[in-house]
């Protein structure tokens, strides 16, 4: 068992008829993802060809989920319409199945749209939102697997390391590092770096902790906010599996700014040093260089008697 998305999960693609949506849906099918169709308002009834196969398109997420019993959806809808696409999917999953995973890849959604969308999703507790502005979520299989997003599928392999990250390409770096010590991944989750997003670090850590396939965790943070600090404090109390961490942005310069309001919300300034310190205080093994994530992970696995 992996986290949230199983290897054979039935997946819909919102915005499947758009350029981005079609391109990535094709790559998802190529990887082995069980795509069952897509949704684009106004394009219902047509089909889209992915990897030489035709896939149906619905006008409405309600119809798409009713007809396919889909488990999850990936959103490649442009920013002006993306928040509504999230809410449509959440409403449909909640009404029809009481559960579902909504992955939003779109970058550039207005923050106040996301405030509304996240509140809407949170009122439907069976629905999980991942993203927006993220690479998505992938559960590698024995052959193929479920790739819900834009990550390069071929760098992954099925295994026992859970990865959670705010950043896109840095997640790929972490995947490559696990591979460099012959470890595969259970599930890799890009939670996205937008100010207001869905699933956070703590929910991912909790899911990895209770997932049998996952035996160790890699957590990649970035400067800004205090989600990493809170996750570290939570992990110290609740996570028994080894965690390896990295935070990007240690050299980001303090510079010009306007107003003071942001700096005083939570007290902390969200610097990399603050976050590394919180990681270390929580017993998370830190790499100061992402190229060392592999060796730090190997050491942690040995220490835990897993290698």
């Amino acid at each position: 068992m992996a986290v949230w998305i199983q290897e054979d999960a039935k997946v819909l693609v919102q915005g499947i008829t758009g350029k981005q949506g079609k391109f990535h849906a094709d790559k998802m099918v190529e990887y082995g993802t069980n795509i069952v169709g897509g949704c684009t308002p106004g394009k219902g009834g047509m089909t889209v060809e992915l990897q030489g196969k035709e896939f149906p398109v619905w006008d409405s997420m309600f119809d798409a989920i009713k007809d396919t019993d889909a488990d999850a959806t990936v959103i490649y809808v442009p920013p002006p319409f993306a928040a509504e696409a999230i809410m449509e999917a959440a409403d449909a999953f909640d009404s029809i199945k009481g559960e579902g995973v909504v992955v939003c890849i779109t970058e550039g959604i207005p923050t106040l749209d996301m405030v509304k969308a996240v509140s809407f999703v949170n009122n439907r507790p069976g629905v999980r939102l991942i993203g927006p502005n993220c690479p998505g979520i992938i559960t590698p299989g024995e052959s193929g697997g479920a790739k819900l997003g834009i990550m390069p599928g071929h760098i992954h392999a099925k295994g026992r390391i859970g990865i959670v990250s705010k950043s896109g390409t840095l997640t790929y770096e972490a995947v490559a590092q696990t591979m460099s010590i012959d470890e595969g991944q259970s599930t890799c989750i890009g939670i996205g770096g937008d100010p207001v997003n869905g699933t956070g670090f703590i929910e991912c850590l909790a899911a990895f902790e209770s997932d049998e396939q996952t035996e160790a965790i890699v957590m990649i943070g970035e400067i800004g906010g205090n989600a990493e600090q809170e996750a570290a404090a939570w992990a110290a109390e609740n996570v028994t599996k080894p965690i390896v961490g990295f935070v990007a942005g240690a050299t980001a310069p303090p510079g010009k700014r306007m107003g003071h309001a942001g700096a005083i919300i939570s007290g902390g300034k969200g610097t990399a040093e603050e976050k590394f310190a919180a990681f270390e205080a929580a017993g998370i093994a830190c790499a100061r260089d992402p190229s060392e994530l592999g060796s730090v992970l190997l050491e942690s696995l040995k220490k835990a008697g897993l290698r």
Binding site: P79, T169, I264, D289
Partner: protein, 424 residues
């Protein structure tokens, strides 16, 4: 906590996790306040000394404030320097004038000179705009801010009786004096929330009513204008128990620019770095730094990590540059030319983890750029991910002086070595 993050950076930079904010001047913010029914004093925006004198005559107020307009806080305690020789011109970027002569003196000392405040960095900003504002009878100064709280995922309103001072000090030493209200996006700002905040500020009678009315209007303005932050410091209670905004710091969420064409009228490009604007136009995120190793990376997180590792091996990054997820040959070329505009650059590290982006395309772009730009500094290229073998083969086959690297650590070490070798 969008703003505290961008607080660490130059305003308006597109690191994805910061969102980008577009800031406006105080005088533009006050016009927006007025439009939405938030009390402000009478004021006039001007760009010349004569304009300031005319404004003084028009305002017909014995006392006026002469205020420098730049996109940074701390103006009152800032210092003005001459752009020619950086000699001191005047202490204070916001001045109270008691006569027309004062207005002339202050306007002359401010316009065209460089204002350095705690938020501008040492280089400061040239002041091209002035705001001349009527005086008022101040009974007490408060602090008020609205912004998006990324942890609570909602709009946060903060207010304090300790206005007109450094609010970060208040937050640190007397947090009990900072009152917070989170607004449920579905319910909007509720009457009791505004009333409770007014009570916490000790406002009674007419002032209480004035505050509650103003806060409702401010919240509506915040939402309908896609603000990222509104800060009023100070918000004042006048002798007549009216609540009036004496300052206005407003930032918009740039992600919402597609539905706010009116922002083009208030955008002040002179407040943004020219090269950063050009980078943005080609879909690149670029921030100039003080070091000598240029970086070209895909993805903001990886770009930051690349800077970190360069520093870890004893080098100093010259820039942050994210070419994005799907860069083409042309963008890679533009990225190189932007990096090379910086005369401090002594070497370049390219770090690409190809996902959507294919390494062979990047390799061709790198070669095309180095050839057409006549690259003279050492170049280390680290490629990983999609089509990495083809990419490496293309680089290896070229006659150019390109050093390959297999991982970020090796690439960083190599570029640091090459640069220090060149100095000897």
């Amino acid at each position: 906590m969008q703003k505290s993050v961008s607080a660490l950076f130059k305003g308006g930079v597109h690191f994805p996790q910061f969102g980008g904010n577009m800031n406006i001047h105080e005088y533009q913010g006050k016009a927006l306040f007025e439009k939405h029914g938030v009390n402000v004093l009478k004021g006039v925006h001007c760009t010349s000394v004569q304009g300031a004198l005319d404004a003084y005559d028009n305002l017909n107020s014995k006392v006026v404030a002469v205020k420098s307009q730049i996109h940074a806080g701390g103006r009152g305690k800032g210092t003005l320097y001459s752009p020619e020789d950086r000699s001191l011109v005047m202490e204070g970027g916001v001045k109270i004038a008691f006569s027309k002569e004062d207005v002339e003196k202050y306007a002359t000392n401010i316009l065209g000179n460089i204002l350095v405040t705690i938020q501008t960095g040492e280089e400061g900003k040239v002041v091209n705009n002035l705001y001349i504002e009527s005086g008022c009878d101040i009974a007490h100064e408060y602090y008020l801010a609205l912004l998006v709280d990324r942890e609570a995922k909602s709009v946060l309103i903060m207010a304090s009786t300790e206005g007109g001072v450094d609010i970060e000090e208040v937050a640190e030493h007397t947090p009990e004096l900072l009152h917070k209200v989170h607004v449920d996006p579905n319910a909007g700002l509720l009457g009791y929330q505004a009333r409770d905040l007014a009570l916490n500020l000790g406002l009674k009678g007419a002032a209480h009513k004035s505050f509650v009315k103003m806060l409702g209007k401010l919240y509506n303005m915040f939402v309908s204008n896609d603000c990222a932050m509104v800060e009023i410091n100070p918000l004042v209670r006048t002798g007549d128990d009216e609540m009036v905004a004496l300052d206005a710091k407003i930032g918009f969420d740039e992600n919402a620019s597609f539905r706010h064409k009116e922002w083009e009228d208030v955008r002040d490009l002179s407040e943004e770095e020219d090269v950063e604007i050009r980078a943005k136009e080609t879909g690149l995120s670029y921030v100039k730094l003080d070091g000598n190793i240029g970086c070209l990376v895909n993805g903001a997180g990886l770009a930051m990590a690349t800077m970190d590792v360069i520093k870890l091996y004893g080098g100093e990054p010259a820039n942050f540059l994210d070419v994005g997820g799907g860069a083409n040959e042309e963008q890679v070329k533009t990225a190189f030319s932007i990096i090379l505009e910086d005369p401090n650059v002594k070497g370049i590290l390219v770090n690409i983890f190809g996902g959507i982006m294919r390494c062979d395309i990047i390799a061709r772009g790198v070669i095309a750029a180095t050839e057409s730009l006549g690259l003279e500094v050492p170049l280390v290229v680290r490629l990983a991910g999609t089509n990495v073998e083809e990419g490496k083969a293309i680089l290896a086959a070229s006659e150019l002086n390109i050093y390959p690297a297999d991982d970020l650590a090796e690439g960083s070490q190599k570029i640091v070595e090459l640069i220090s070798g060149g100095d000897e």
